[in-house]
Symmetry: C2
Subunit: 237 residues, 2 copies
Amino acid sequence: MKNATAKRLGHGAALNREDLARLDRFLHPVRRVPAGTDLIQRGETVSCVRLMISGLSARYKLLPDGRRSIMALLLPGDFCDLHVGVLGHMDHSVMTLAESEVVETSQSDIDGMMGAFPNIARGMRWIDMVDQSITREWLVSMGRRRADRQMAHFFCEIYHRMDMIDEVGSNSFALPMTQEELADTLGITPVHALRVLQSLRQSGMVQFQDGRISIPKLDSLETFAEFEGDYLHLGRS
Amino acid sequence: MKNATAKRLGHGAALNREDLARLDRFLHPVRRVPAGTDLIQRGETVSCVRLMISGLSARYKLLPDGRRSIMALLLPGDFCDLHVGVLGHMDHSVMTLAESEVVETSQSDIDGMMGAFPNIARGMRWIDMVDQSITREWLVSMGRRRADRQMAHFFCEIYHRMDMIDEVGSNSFALPMTQEELADTLGITPVHALRVLQSLRQSGMVQFQDGRISIPKLDSLETFAEFEGDYLHLGRS
DNA sequence: CGTCTGTTTGATCAACGTCAAGACCTGTGG
DNA sequence: CCACAGGTCTTGACGTTGATCAAACAGACG
């Protein structure tokens, strides 16, 4: 039974027994963080690297008028701020959307591990690249997909990302976020998010209630969303 | 007289004489590419790393119905595909919007240089981080800013990025892209792009004609766009 | 002279936002 | 046990932004 981090890294590089052992030592101590807590705030100087072990977090920015934009979801195995040390300060904030577990370590620890364990280093670079790819796909969704397709596309993506770390069971998984948070990640209003959600519900493609989502027929949803999963770099290309 | 690459790297790390000398050797040979050429296509296996020397390129994706989404502009000093080697294939394409000069090299060359010249390595990581930051800010613009503010914000950003490599003269600079390409980067239609452009022209904040843009009063434009430049990580903050 | 690409304009329509209000649930204090 | 507050979800009426459709115009080029 591997942890989410090992599963994620394993998609980008083959890990051997020593890699896994090093990782296990790395994943301590775990800090438990309640929902709605800022892990890092905009403007802060970054002093350490954080890794999501469990739960759900989000990168976000607040605009002058108080509106919010969520620019990324951090799932177990994602890094909050890998490499941001080279920048002077954070240009955005990261908050937990649900109770989460994180590991905090130093950039030098990371660098040391990457130097000594090339497979892990390769896996981490892979995670980094995939995160960038996801951000670009979100741009496509925002710019060129209608809200219903965009939401469907978003759900497909999260399904695959959750599946990657074995968090999907019988076509459903925990997605502990509110409609408002969903709206902020799609760039729409909560009212519209609800209406789109209702139309997806009516068509029988999605259930989303009480922090849990169920996707009975992923195929239909992917077709509807015109989902092309290559940007997640999962397959045997 | 330093080149654009050195200027960009220099913002992220202090370069000494040897660093600059190594860079100079690195920047050969230069390949000249006409406008409208794909430097890399989606699905391709990445065999080399490309660096923009001059001109203008764009990361983009095409949707099944033929619409296009431009997810990033590559200015001189930007890397086309730094580190994408760890991914099996490109998930998007890169094309020149104007005649450009690029340097093509291998990932192992890059790795060698980064290993031997820590300042350069640091500068390259800085460029990478800033590019990610810019992508995130575009997400904010797409999701939460009206088209007029979004376009204004975009122009402010490009102004600063061009200024960083000393390409701005008397408040104007070359931006050789069409209205259609502009629309594809903002996620709107060409017709609407024109109308927004006209409103910005009328207010006297922007001139944009014949591949050149002029911003007489950057302050006004930044205020209008609610532009907060910290995400470009330029300042001495 | 015709074709092509890019720009411009107008009329109409759909997607999405705004405003306002109520329902439901949970936790809290009297 | 009840009253109340706060957060989330839900619904309806109406307004705005931006898309769509169609056409004309200008310059570059063979």
